[in-house]
Symmetry: C2
Subunit: 702 residues, 2 copies
């Protein structure tokens, strides 16, 4: 009898710790549950309208040397809170963003060690965010992470839009498959010629991961506010559909160096039964810290052209000034070397682009290949690859600055590091000072190849800190940053709005390499773009690269789809990437690129299905102008464009850029028809989109 009483007491005691905490979203559709499991592991689950989104899933850490920091916890304290506020981004898809969430804060103490771990949940109408918080405490100050054990137990064999987990690149083609099919497809998915690959040793995929359940739920898993922490990939058990955190290690195998008094990034699960709500979500940016810059007046959304695509066309233009490859930065005297005669970034040629930009209303001209070092920029072999303050002899910095200023055009700086990052950090302040002295206010950074320091990966903690440091340091100089080959974004542009765009996915350059599939741009907004804007560099009109030389690559879209991308692929930084001569051949189509805005008051997701199609309308910031883009995958379709977002009782003129009747990305990509039409808020435009085609519409009030 005594034994029974003891048992009952223990059970009650156990129950006391496992009493579930539930959190319900403001609209009541989402319910999150948190409790301690039998072995006192923190677990959570999430339902949407009664359907399982995440079934019971563990939380915690394995830390070094070999310690389980994921069980034997007791709940010290829980706190609930709610917040409903709005804020105004410096730039964005909407000029007002609402942040309406419920919060649960759980303070845990591990029995035995006495170590403290807090978890903070925020539940929005469109999803859940949670993060770990490592409070300052007496017995634990520094530790290293072997693995974060956060689980995402999915409820079924969802359709997934995935790229393989890789510590150094995110430029893969996106594969669409059932989760159960990932094992048989991942080797093929990994088998791409990319500049630097370090595939995860096990079955894992990258975030943002887009999922669709058989019962119609759209689920997106990613993270927000990646600061002083490695990027998260997701392990997959393709039988049980258990996914779990797979942090990017350094090359010594450590996944994070943590000092207490800090937090993890937020883990985000966005969910809806309407795919449009995924694209409309502000959950990730809402989980980032507010803007840290006092003055943001110098940050300007930018439309630009540049000396860039010519390096990819196969037409012969080169970043390098000379064919001599035995270059030592600081010692080689370029003025004594023979020019190769086809260096792209020469003063006269850049002036042509400045003239074109000025004539057509572009803000800026990007110039790649302006600085010393390109001849011998083989990554990882040497550390001192480029000078970021020394121009090639045929690139006249002062004269170009004078000329561009006289035309009201900015030149965008280019800092390709070839991933010699420690050296870039050495040169960074001098490089930024050089920029300001010469009128530059934006830089495109690049991280091609494996990283030096040689212990590091692109997506590891050290590099995450580097990218953030570049954004923060650039802000001190009033410089905007567009980082290429960096870790994929996590909404940090809220905190540093000068970090105006990133690449971090397969962009237009791949049209000249191994190609981009027609469904690619219908998936990117559901994956890569969830974390922030992409410098996708659309606008290729001449898609047959064989016209330039030996490159046989062909564009994976129609010309009109290229126009539509300016709306469907949101970015405050948009390039018209083609050679300017190609725009001069199609001035009527080019008009849409000239007109389209790069900053917005409102965004309307009209139609969306990942992998199939996207139609988006946006109102230009501060103007009564609307721009609409609709795109489709390899299948033609009819887009239905409901203009009910326009004001009642007003009349508008729509200019419609449509695929021609026989347009097809494979056989006839450049056929287009431009028409105008009077429309109102009652109009529903029905537009046929060619295979990998699109539609672009501009609307102005009459």
């Amino acid at each position: 009898m005594k034994k029974l009483i003891l048992c009952v007491m223990i059970c009650l005691f156990g129950v006391g710790f496992s009493l579930a905490q539930t959190l319900t979203s403001p609209d009541g559709n989402l319910v999150m549950d948190f409790h301690l499991s039998a072995d006192k592991t923190p677990v959570y689950s999430l339902k949407y309208k009664g359907k399982d989104v995440i079934k019971e899933s563990k939380m915690g850490f394995q830390i070094r040397p070999s310690f389980d920091f994921s069980k034997n916890f007791r709940i010290v304290e829980t706190k609930e809170d709610a917040s409903d506020t709005t804020w105004n981004p410096v730039w964005g898809q909407n000029s007002v963003i609402r942040d309406n969430h419920k919060e649960l804060f759980v303070a845990l103490e591990q029995e035995g060690t006495g170590w403290l771990l807090n978890i903070r949940f925020r539940l929005f109408d469109d999803g859940l965010g949670f993060r770990y918080e490592f409070p300052v405490q007496k017995e634990l100050r520094h530790f290293t992470i072997n693995e974060e054990v956060t689980e995402f137990q999915l409820a079924g064999d969802h359709k997934a839009f995935w790229i393989p987990a890789d510590y150094d690149t995110n430029e893969f083609q996106i594969t669409t498959s059932k989760l159960s099919e990932v094992p048989q497809l991942i080797d093929k998915a990994r088998d791409e010629a990319l500049a630097c690959k370090s595939p995860s040793p096990n079955l894992a995929v990258q975030t943002p991961l887009m999922l669709k359940s058989d019962d119609g739920l759209y689920i997106n898993i990613h993270e927000a506010a990646l600061v002083n922490y490695p990027a998260m990939h997701l392990n997959l058990d393709a039988q049980t559909f258990l996914m779990s955190s797979h942090l990017t290690p350094d090359k010594n195998g450590t996944k994070g160096y943590i000092q207490t008094g800090s937090t993890s990034p937020w883990r985000t699960i966005i969910v809806s039964d309407d795919a449009r709500n995924i694209l409309a979500s502000n959950l990730i940016v809402n989980l980032n810290e507010p803007c840290k810059l006092e003055d943001t007046s110098w940050i300007k959304p930018t439309k630009y052209v540049g000396v860039w695509w010519e390096y990819f066309t196969g037409g012969g233009s080169t970043w390098a000034y000379t064919d001599t490859q035995d270059i030592v930065i600081g010692k080689t005297d370029y003025t004594k070397l023979k020019p190769n005669g086809h260096h792209g970034a020469n003063t006269a040629h850049v002036k042509e682009y400045i003239d074109f930009a000025a004539k057509n209303g572009f803000d800026a001209v990007l110039v790649e290949g302006w600085n010393e070092g390109w001849e011998d920029n083989y990554a990882y072999a040497k550390e001192f690859i480029y000078s970021f303050t020394k121009a090639y002899p045929d690139f006249d910095v002062k004269e170009l600055q004078r000329y561009a200023a006289s035309k009201g055009v900015k030149i965008i700086m280019h800092h390709e590091t070839t991933s010699s990052v420690a050296d870039y950090e050495r040169q960074m302040h001098d490089a930024f000072r050089f920029m300001k002295e010469n009128g530059y206010d934006a830089v495109k950074t690049g991280y091609v190849g494996p990283i030096i320091p040689r212990s590091e990966h692109h997506d590891g903690q050290w590099m995450v800190n580097h990218y953030n440091r570049v954004a923060e340091t650039a802000a001190q100089y009033h410089i905007m940053v567009n980082s290429h080959e960096a870790v994929r974004p996590t909404g940090m542009y809220r905190t540093y709005p000068n970090w105006i765009a990133q690449e971090s996915a397969r962009g237009t350059e791949f049209e000249s390499f191994n190609g981009i599939r027609p469904d690619h741009q219908t998936i990117l907004p559901f994956t890569r773009l969830m974390g922030g804007p992409m410098d996708y560099t659309p606008g290729i009109f001449e898609g047959d690269l064989s016209v330039y030389g030996s490159n046989k690559a062909k564009l994976g879209t129609t010309l009109v789809k290229q126009l539509a991308l300016y709306v469907t692929m949101y970015s405050p930084l948009q390039m018209a990437a083609d050679l300017y001569q190609n725009y001069e051949k199609y001035p009527d189509a080019f008009q849409f690129i000239k007109d389209v805005a790069v900053d917005w008051d409102n965004t309307y997701i009209l139609e969306a299905e990942p992998g199939d199609y996207i139609t988006i309308a946006r109102k230009a910031k501060g103007k009564n102008e609307w721009y609409i883009g609709g795109i489709t995958d390899e299948n033609s379709r009819e887009a239905v464009i409901d203009l009910s977002f326009l004001s009642t009782g007003k009349k508008y003129q729509a200019t419609i850029y449509a695929d021609g009747k026989t347009a097809d990305w494979r056989t006839n990509p450049k056929e287009y028809v431009i028409s105008t039409k009077k429309v109102t808020n009652k109009t529903k435009l029905k537009q046929r989109l060619a295979p990998s085609g699109g539609v672009a519409v501009s609307i102005k009030e009459l």
Copy 2:
């Protein structure tokens, strides 16, 4: 018969390539032989007065991915040359240095690959230097080194003065043993509590390696001009006495990233049948590049005191300002933290040292613990450990600068990095600017703990480049550098004479840890000091640390030996390391430290036997003053000090600081006798040195 002819032709052909090239030293004592072996591997050997120093030994490389770059060579060209010049160092043991050598240059081409490798030999009267040169060539631009295969085939089981090879530290006790005994002794030698150890996986020792053969040859193996290359350790075959290069790898196992158009460091073999010639050798510094600084007027040999030893005594003084350890540099507001009450680098205490320095003619005061970050400086755990521009609240930079300047004293800056080196490089320019703004012109750098970037070791190529970069960058700011825990020096102070000293060995701080053996200082000049001056920080008068608290450590020398070290341990930077109060107790003995010079016109090695004793006399630069130091190991001895270096016919007054009659480092270290004596160049002083004792003499012209 045809076969025979063919065979003869091949043999002749073979002989054609293996014709030995010999080089003879200017005095004829050294003969170097070079030829290609049967498998066309470059081999060299070295004899001294007919005795084998280095028997036939291979040269070349193993390079990545897996390629043998050490055989199948043919000789393209050989060139002989000779040079006999003198030059004047900015500071040194002698004001004029002679560089008299014969040179053999060999250009090799590897059959099959067509790759080119050159070898340059320089033979001096006191030894051989050779280096590899990687010429610019068409088929080879970048490669990585798996191993340099340079061999040193010793002729017998020599006595060796060695420390175990380790990629991160050189602070071991020195072991004296036969080479054949190294295997049984190396585990014990490695078993020391040092801040960061990465022992070589195999049997290997560090350079400079001092050897003595049974037939009386003294041989020293080291390297010169370590630039963009990892430091070399020496593998040992304890049966055959074959030693070979063991370059320090990075943590990925790569031993060097090479771009053609560069050279290896020089491999140096200094040899004599008189140990004094080893100490007198200028071979290593002669193999370094001439001074690269146009203006060296700001470089000043320096004698200093400092807020330093009190951190080691156990008396309670701390580098840290507060006991709060949850520090985040840039966020923590130190003015809001409670001072711990025993912070060493406080304004009032530093002023005491400034007063003491001014009163006693010292040039400078070193202050450690002046800057934010010491509370939480656990190495490798975090990257942002210190600010190098933000002082603790109780260290008034401006007031101390004013006060020191008013007294004619400099303050020496301290930059302990705790090996967070990438971050030090980020801060370096700001840190140097901060120094110049506040009147500092010298910095002591420190590299305690494992390196961040976490791919790197203290002695690897990346860190070698870092140390050199610090010296070069500091020179741009007219800052002198004294680096601690850096790779051991290789004569680079010739090129950057602002790199005024290094630690890079077991220095006086160890008197407060696990001790320093009495023979240590009789070996260091034959090992560590071969590459350049050491900031050994002698001058400890109070050797019984139990007087301060719980530290039971006792000094391993007599007080007089501490005086003698100012002469026997050459450095243009010399500290009087003890607490100033201890000097005030022994003003007559302290007089020698006040008097002794730190720069010299001439040096006379009077007596020397590694591990046993050293007696050196030096003439102060530009003065008719001579200072003599004699030291012994654990055995007492009689030093014979032949003053024949003095001018004929002149009279001098000698002040002799001698161990007292019953002085003994273990029982009675502080007993000393000071006497004066008239001397001439005919005088031979005979002085008894106590066990681990010494003698110090100052001589002035009457």
